[in-house]
């Protein structure tokens, strides 16, 4: 009941989904580690289906306006800003 080991392609695919730019060494290292870890996780296949109950429900706040941050506070930690905007990479 074990999966085939996770290969480099799969690691690269997941790295893309997670937006992390791995170098070749990291891809290889992770591929072998993941194989072990995921094999270990396979034990979960044995677990029966159990119903989950909701505990807390209907937690809401009234529709009231509260004080917000100033523009300065909002931008304070941004690596790059321009005219009060956050500066981001281009989007296609």
């Amino acid at each position: 009941m074990s999966d085939s080991p996770v290969d480099a392609d799969e690691v690269r695919h997941v790295a893309e989904l997670a937006r992390i730019d791995l170098d070749r060494e990291e891809v290889e290292a992770f591929a072998s580690q993941f194989a072990d870890i995921l094999a270990y996780f396979d034990a979960l296949d044995e677990v029966p289906e159990v119903e989950q109950e909701a505990d807390l429900v209907n937690v809401m706040r009234p529709d009231e306006v509260r004080e917000c941050l100033s523009q300065e506070e909002a931008l304070a930690n941004a690596p790059e800003t321009e005219d009060g905007y956050f500066k981001g990479p281009r989007v296609s």
Binding site: L17, V59, C68, Q71, A74
Partner: protein, 496 residues
């Protein structure tokens, strides 16, 4: 289904819509920041740790957004299930402060609703598969750069966290026009509920799905064979922001797709972007990447059990019902009823006026005079509400004969709207009080005496000569006499 086979057959259009509407609440869906944008507001001035996605911030659900959603569900006759919950939709984009959007996935707050739309005189029922709550992302501005430097984007999170309702229809539309009618109707219903403001920028965003299927796969009731629909390639059109835009974009697509098919080319399954300024859709194939959103429950927000809210929350009378009632209760014709229910505010106003006056008279005043003036000024009734306090007084004054209808419509009403002056003040300032009957009689007598040629002409058969005499009387009375009455009086005298 190959393009070869398709090009031999008649084609039918199948359209489904995903509509995002901004809900009119005071504060954002998960935090207390205001949803109201000040005019010319500076970027990033309406944010907090929560809607900015700062480390450690947590969402707290706005009760007003839930109420608004239940109202929509009620108006759509939708089911509100026993338990509804929030999920995270995980993807990366600079307008998304957390790089996930809190939305609803397999347990939406509304399911299986309907909206009736009138299309070419026919009442059609459009099925709404689901409607759910989610948060709006921020707004992006693309910046071009010089040749040696990269382009970049400017991001403003003021809008991030505004409550949205996503309303998804079944693929029930058979033409771009139907889609437009539906959207107009949806806007009307939402506006009546008080949860939507069409004048607000970006308050409506539409994604449309369109497929062409062989016409013979559509039965007489408009139902489509499931397999045929699944086999047809579906185009998604994004960036539509009005009901008119929807019709244009979809009409463009129908033409584009029909052309392609007739030339034996396949229509791709893809996403396209509607460019309003150029009037075309553009392929976004480069964006067709992995769409694995890895949905899982948003654990920071406990689930909702609000199915009983449907009973408890009142919604106002909806537009169709109100129109019907106006026709029956006030004996109005279709056109008048329609004008008087164009918005909830107009309908409410009319019903105030009708308490004091005959429905037809009230209708003329509100639908013809008032709305006419407002349309000319490109204003809504809500823009001048404070200035309409004396509106019924104005009608009274005309009814009592104290001023002429003409003066009331052309001078007094306009001054009321433009300057906010009460009717009596205008009447006095302009000397518009109607003249007493004695005075009119005297003026008539004078006019006859002073203008023997006109009198002779009239008696000689020239009917039009009386207009000259009416004009003379009007001049003498400073325009305050009623021209109809004057005309009658002159004839009476001259015909003796």
């Amino acid at each position: 289904m190959t393009a070869q086979a398709l090009e031999q057959r008649d084609l039918a259009v199948v359209i489904g819509l995903e509509v995002h509407v901004q809900l009119e609440t005071n504060s954002k869906i998960f935090c207390g920041c205001s949803t109201e944008a000040a005019e010319d507001e500076e970027p990033n001035t309406r944010t907090c740790p929560v809607c900015l996605g700062l480390p450690g911030a947590l969402p707290v659900l706005n009760e007003g957004a839930v109420e608004a959603a239940v109202k929509v569900g009620k108006a759509l006759n939708a089911d509100i299930p026993e338990e509804t919950s929030f999920h995270r939709k995980n993807y990366y984009y600079p307008d998304l402060p957390k790089n996930f959007q809190i939305t609803q996935y397999d347990a939406p707050i509304c399911r299986d609703g309907t909206i009736e739309v009138e299309i070419e005189g026919e009442r059609r029922v459009i099925n709404v598969r689901r409607a759910h709550l989610e948060e709006d992302p921020g707004s992006l501005q693309h910046k071009g750069g010089s040749i040696d430097a990269a382009d970049y984007t400017l991001v403003n999170y003021n809008r991030a966290g505004t409550p949205l309702m996503e309303i998804v229809t079944e693929p029930d539309f058979r033409s771009p026009r139907e889609a437009r009618r539906f959207l107009a109707k949806l806007e009307e219903v939402l506006e009546y509920l008080g949860v939507f403001d069409a004048t607000r920028d970006g308050s409506l965003r539409v994604d449309a799905n369109i497929s062409m299927v062989p016409a013979d796969e559509v039965d007489a009731d408009g139902r489509i064979d499931e397999e045929a629909l699944a086999a047809a390639n579906r185009t998604e059109v994004k960036n539509i922001s009005s009901h008119k835009g929807a019709e244009k974009a979809l009409a463009y697509e129908v033409t584009r797709q029909k052309n392609a098919i007739q030339r034996g080319r396949a229509v791709e399954q893809e996403t396209r972007h509607w460019d309003e300024s150029r009037g075309i859709t553009v392929s976004m194939r480069s964006k067709e990447e992995e769409k694995d959103y890895r949905y899982f429950r948003e654990h920071d927000l406990p689930p909702l059990r609000v199915s009983d809210w449907k009973e408890k929350i009142d919604i106002p009378e909806l537009p169709d019902a109100r129109r019907e009632r106006f026709r029956e209760a006030y004996g109005l014709d279709v056109e008048a009823a329609s004008k008087l229910t164009s918005t909830k505010a107009v309908a409410d106003f009319y019903e105030d006026v009708v308490e004091e006056f005959d429905p037809d008279l009230a209708a003329t005043w509100v639908a013809d005079n008032l709305l006419g003036e407002l349309n000319y000024r490109d204003m809504a009734i809500t823009d001048v509400e404070e200035r309409l306090g004396e509106f019924t007084r104005l009608i009274e004054l005309v009814d009592a004969g104290e001023i002429t209808r003409k003066n009331a419509e052309e001078i007094v009403l306009r001054r009321m709207l433009d300057e906010g002056e009460p009717p009596e003040a205008v009447i006095e300032a302009e000397g518009l009080g109607t003249v007493g009957e004695d005075e009119v009689e005297r003026a008539v007598a004078e006019a006859i005496e002073e203008n023997p040629e006109a009198v002779e002409d009239y008696r000689g058969g020239e009917g039009g000569a009386i207009n000259f005499l009416v004009g003379q009387v009007m001049r003498k009375t400073g325009g305050s006499a009623d021209p109809g009455d004057v005309n009658a009086m002159l004839r009476e005298r001259l015909d003796e």
